[in-house]
């Protein structure tokens, strides 16, 4: 029963967000540091993990929010607009994957990826590479700060307006699409609004117009009359409507749940989610402040949170390459991630990707397996580049296997699994393939 007590204590709304303090029995070690870098980024090389261990948990968390200057990140970042102008959305996807792989600020890209799935639009319908790229830049720049600012940006976002057919809504001709998705999928969640709220909100959104790849709000097309939304009557505009949504208790709860699913992983009791919602309100909906507290908490470092979620294809691929300190052909990576079910900028619908076990359906797990084989076999199309010789060093076969286990799994494997790997007497490079297709490697 001790376990139950411990979990009860962990999810206790009063204590779950207390800072986690290393102890002799539960120290700050490589496993904990790897968990932090995996969840807050996309994983890291052993050197980076060692660096985080040496720095200590507080410094390691702070480094996530205040990265040092990095010319490589800056150079790749600057290539985005140029590639966007080539009007090939898959090239933009490839560029973003490359940025995720090389960036010194992975938390920013992870949050952008989260918002990309949350405020989902598909390039197939939007058709404008510039608009899709503009939305990504919104997620990258505003996804880290005040959620209200982000949501306002989404309401004005050209890609979103085109995706939800809200590109020419004006007084007398409201469109409920945007209002409905705003409440149901983006800001509040099902059960927190009425049909009447949607109809009224749709009037508040009139005046939004799309002009090419840009949006504008044309006051003369806006319905200036009073609207009653969530029981309050006012002459809501798109911006004040968004602000009003965040005044609803459901908004904080909705975003706290979204952020907890992403960063904590495990299913949390309602009381714990309420605590997180309260934190979000207290931090004025600022994602960075919220995450600072969350990453330092007992909840985040609890064993139940570690490897508690199925890695998305992007997490799986980028995490594997970062663990190897490898580069690869990003165009191929974008295709392979797509084959695994997460073609960037092409979510299956406005609800985004389902995630969870959907990531490892029988077809998609084969695609992960193929990626592993490409990586291990030095497949030319993938073009993975990493220093295998240095990785082997003067290690014995057994030591090399253990080293690879640490890189990819960051934890001990069951003895039977390790024995099976030891029994493999072929090319040790095959271990890369075998390890990253283990069930343990599908978790993040």
């Amino acid at each position: 029963m001790a376990t139950v007590d411990a979990r009860a204590l962990l999810f206790d709304p009063q204590t779950c967000l207390e800072p986690w303090l290393p102890t002799t029995s539960d120290p700050w070690n490589r496993q904990k540091a790897a968990h932090l870098l995996r969840r807050a980024g996309f994983g890291a090389s052993p050197q980076s993990i060692d660096h985080a261990v040496a720095a200590g948990p507080a410094a390691a968390i702070e480094a996530l929010f205040t990265p040092t200057e990095d010319p490589t990140t800056a150079a790749i970042d600057a290539m985005g607009p140029r590639l966007m102008r080539q009007r090939n959305i898959d090239r933009v996807a490839a560029w973003w994957l490359r940025l995720m792989l090389e960036t010194n600020h992975p938390l920013r890209e992870r949050l952008a990826l989260l918002w990309h799935g949350h405020f989902a639009v598909s390039a197939d319908k939007v058709t404008s590479t510039a608009a899709i790229y503009g939305q990504l830049e919104l997620f990258r720049s505003a996804g880290f700060g005040d959620l209200r600012t982000l949501a306002r940006g989404v309401v004005h976002d050209p890609a979103m307006l085109r995706f939800l057919d809200a590109d020419r809504i004006r007084v007398g001709h409201p469109n409920e699409n945007l209002a409905r998705e705003l409440f149901e999928l983006f800001l509040l969640g099902i059960g927190n609004y009425t049909e009447r709220d949607i109809q009224e909100a749709a009037r508040a959104l009139t005046g939004l117009r799309l002009s090419g790849d840009r949006s504008e709000w044309v006051e003369r097309y806006h319905d200036t009359s009073a609207k009653t939304v969530f029981g309050r009557t006012a002459a809501f505009t798109p911006d004040t409507l968004v602000h009003h949504c965040f005044e609803q208790p459901a908004a904080a709860r909705f975003f706290a749940t979204t952020l907890a699913r992403e960063f904590v992983g495990s299913q949390l009791p309602d009381e714990t989610l309420e605590t997180l919602a309260a934190l979000l309100r207290k931090e004025e909906f600022r994602v960075d402040r919220f995450l600072r507290v969350l990453f330092a908490s007992r909840l985040f470092f609890d064993a139940s949170s570690i490897r508690a979620r199925i890695a998305s294809p992007v997490e799986f691929v980028i995490g594997t390459l970062r663990a190897l300190d490898a580069r690869a052909n990003s165009n191929t990576l974008a295709r392979q991630v797509g084959a695994m079910g997460q073609r960037l900028f092409h979510p299956p619908g406005v609800q985004g990707w389902s995630g969870g076990t959907d990531w490892i359906s029988s077809g998609r797990i084969i695609a992960r397996n193929q990626f592993g084989r490409s990586l291990a076999s030095a497949d030319e199309e993938l073009g993975a580049q990493f220093d295998w010789e240095a990785l082997c060093g003067d290690r014995s076969r057994s030591a090399l296997l253990d080293h690879l286990i640490v890189r990819f799994i960051s934890a001990d494997l069951p003895a039977a699994v390790r024995d099976a790997l030891v029994a493999h007497d072929g090319d040790p490079r095959d271990w890369i393939h075998l390890l990253i297709t283990l069930p343990e490697a599908q978790l993040v």
Binding site: R82, R85, Q86, R87, R91, A130, S211, G212, D213
Partner: protein
């Protein structure tokens, strides 16, 4: 130009002034040492060292070698009776698959090793990794020894060894793995013999000698070699080497004509005209395609695979299929002081097997290439005929791609038969030009990436009679663009017509008042396009910008003699190409980064590409006129002009030297 001194004002990338020695009559060989072939070569040299005096005529073992005679292939009867010098080609067996023949490998090698290209190779990552590895260590030790032993630089040692006439062949000698055979007549046989003799000592127990008749065979591991007079023969297949010896013995050293090294199948003497067709450049390559295909079970996708797609079928008119079915391929490579020339001749399969889509011979009018064109492509093709036989012209693997293309075209020209109702509007020659970028009308924006202008010129089958239909096709094409633009919320392109030099040019693009872009449009690659068309003197012009069409109008027409019109011709000018690439440097680097290169690597690669392009002036590839029997390609790479005057080329070293 071959044999002439490098002309002043021309910068030869292989010239000493640019760190590259110009050797007349020299050609570029792959730097053997850079591709891991030095070690086998050195072993070959070691294996070939006999340490014994070369055979004299008096020691001719012809009568003393019954064992050798018994294993040797019987030479032609003429060899026994004629007193005419016997071409050295005779000593390559008739089952030679591939032969490289060089008349002065030493000059080629020293030219290359002193070149800028060599410097770049040495600086390359691949070379650094090789030299740091185990094989590299062996190479370093070997070079140290050779340098100490001869007192010469490695370059001069290798040049000295290779100087002379060299034939290196792969022979189908039973089994499925071809066997190598070297026949080398060094200019300075003593130097080579002594060098090998000294090096052989380092082979230790791995080396042994064996007297075969009057000839001493030197064997190191699998390598078997011998000297016959001043001719060195080496190979890894003992039977092949011995049969070569037998043929030499039969011939008598005094009757051997060393000027020709071709194998019988590739030699004029052997009954084929290919060898004479290909010319007498200092480096020649011969490939017996039919034999290689047989050896590999009938497949040889490398020859035509990359060309077996719909676009290539237009460009080559089905020749890629002929190339695949060719029986033999011969190439001559020649390096003059201002250009590198490659002449390729193929003996194809019977003509009826393919549908070449060539037009009837005769004079035809073409658009004169604009003087500032970046590139020009021209081919005599019956496009309607090409469409009709498209499935015959592409590889089966490309049929799906062709089917999709057919569907797309069908959608584009709904209700019309693309071959009979669209392509049949055109006649004879297809011309495509890549032209300098014209400034955008409003100059307030530079498209990114910045593309050059493109223009297509097609002669009409019935002059202006079907102008209306072409106009309609152009409008159909633009309407598809407009559908996409409308979906994006952009204003559709409108048509406008301007008259230039008496010709109406119809252009599709944004409204002038909204130029350069539709309201809200983010500038991108499409800002390069304002598609334009015109009809002039029986020609249909289609350009990516009105300026491209205007340039064609300015250029005018010409009617060259039929002989001056090849089946196909591509000309690319490096300087304007480099200019447009430089404009897009950042985009090229970004694309390279996506391919997996680090930012620094990508920058270096693009800089390397630019530097390489800077060495050249123009590339010209010409597919020969439709000969009934053979198919020929002439490629010439012209070197860029430079203010640097190439220095005098040092005279060839004496053929007799000692150390």
């Amino acid at each position: 130009m071959r044999g002439a001194v490098a002309s002043v004002g021309h910068r030869n990338p292989l010239s000493p002034e640019s760190g590259v020695a110009v050797r007349h009559n020299s050609v570029v060989l792959p730097p053997l040492s850079r591709f891991g072939l030095v070690v086998p070569l050195s072993l070959l040299l070691v294996a070939s060292a006999t340490g014994v005096s070369p055979l004299s005529a008096a020691q001719s073992p012809a009568a003393q070698s019954p064992a050798a005679q018994s294993t040797a292939a019987q030479p032609p009867a003429a060899l026994h009776t004629s007193t005419t010098p016997i071409p050295l080609a005779t000593f390559f067996p008739s089952n030679t698959l591939f032969l490289i023949e060089s008349t002065d490998g030493g000059a080629l090698l020293s030219g290359l090793l002193d070149s800028e290209i060599d410097d770049r190779l040495v600086a390359s990552k691949e070379w650094r990794e090789f030299i740091a590895g185990e094989k590299g260590k062996e190479l370093r030790q070997g070079l140290f020894f050779l340098t100490a032993f001869t007192g010469r630089t490695p370059t001069k040692i290798f040049a000295g060894v290779l100087e002379g006439k060299t034939g290196f062949a792969w022979v189908a000698q039973g089994g499925t793995t071809p066997q190598p055979l070297l026949i080398h007549q060094p200019s300075d046989a003593d130097f080579v013999r002594n060098l090998i003799g000294a090096a052989l000592k380092f082979a230790g127990d791995r080396a042994r000698t064996e007297v075969h008749g009057g000839v001493t065979l030197t064997i190191v591991d699998d390598l078997v070699s011998f000297w016959f007079g001043d001719t060195l023969v080496a190979g890894t297949d003992r039977e092949l080497v011995l049969s070569t010896l037998a043929r030499l013995e039969e011939a008598d050293e005094t009757l051997i004509e060393s000027s020709l090294l071709r194998a019988p199948r590739f030699s004029s003497a052997g009954g084929s005209s290919l060898a004479s067709d290909v010319g007498d450049g200092p480096l020649r390559l011969f490939l017996d395609v039919e034999a290689v295909r047989t050896l590999r079970g009938g497949t040889l996708p490398e020859l035509a695979g990359p060309l077996a797609n719909p676009l290539a079928s237009i460009l080559f008119g089905g020749d890629q299929q002929r190339l695949r079915e060719a029986e033999t391929l011969c190439a001559a490579v020649d390096l003059a002081d201002d250009q590198l020339k490659i002449h390729l001749v193929a003996a194809p399969a019977p003509r009826e097997k393919v549908h070449p889509c060539y037009l009837p011979e005769g004079a035809r009018t073409v658009v004169r290439t604009p003087s500032d064109a970046i590139a020009a492509f021209q081919a005599g093709r019956d496009l309607a005929d090409w469409w009709e036989s498209r499935l015959e012209l592409v590889d089966q693997s490309a049929h799906a791609q062709m089917a999709k293309f057919s569907t797309d075209i069908g959608n584009l020209f709904g209700g019309k038969d693309f071959g009979e109702e669209v392509l049949a509007l055109t006649d004879s020659t297809i011309q495509f030009f890549i032209l300098p970028t014209a400034p955008h009308p409003t100059k307030s924006i530079t498209p990114d990436p910045l593309l050059p202008g493109f223009a297509l010129a097609l002669p009409l089958a019935e002059k202006d009679a079907r102008a209306g239909e072409l106009q309609m096709l152009f409008q159909t094409l633009v309407s598809f663009v407009n559908i996409e633009r409308t979906q994006r919320g952009l204003e559709p392109w409108l048509f406008r017509t301007d008259v230039y030099e008496g010709t109406a040019i119809t252009t599709a693009g944004p409204m002038e008042k909204r130029d350069p872009l539709s309201k809200g449009e983010t500038p991108g690659i499409e800002a390069n396009f304002r598609p334009s068309m015109a009809l002039r003197e029986g020609f249909f012009f289609l350009g990516s910008q009105p300026d491209a069409v205007r340039r064609l109008i300015d250029s005018g027409f010409e009617t060259p003699l039929p002989a001056a019109l090849p089946n196909g011709e591509i000309v690319v000018h490096a300087a304007p190409l480099l200019s447009i690439l430089t404009e897009n440097r950042e985009a090229l680097i970004a694309n390279s980064v996506l391919e997996g290169n680090a930012v620094g690597e990508a920058e270096a690669k693009i800089a390397g590409l630019f530097a390489l392009l800077g060495l050249f002036d123009a590339l010209r590839v010409e597919v020969g006129s439709a000969d009934e029997k053979d198919w020929a390609v002439e490629a010439s790479l012209h070197f860029a002009k430079s203010d640097v005057t190439p220095p005098e080329v040092s005279p060839k070293p004496s053929s007799k030297r000692s150390f």
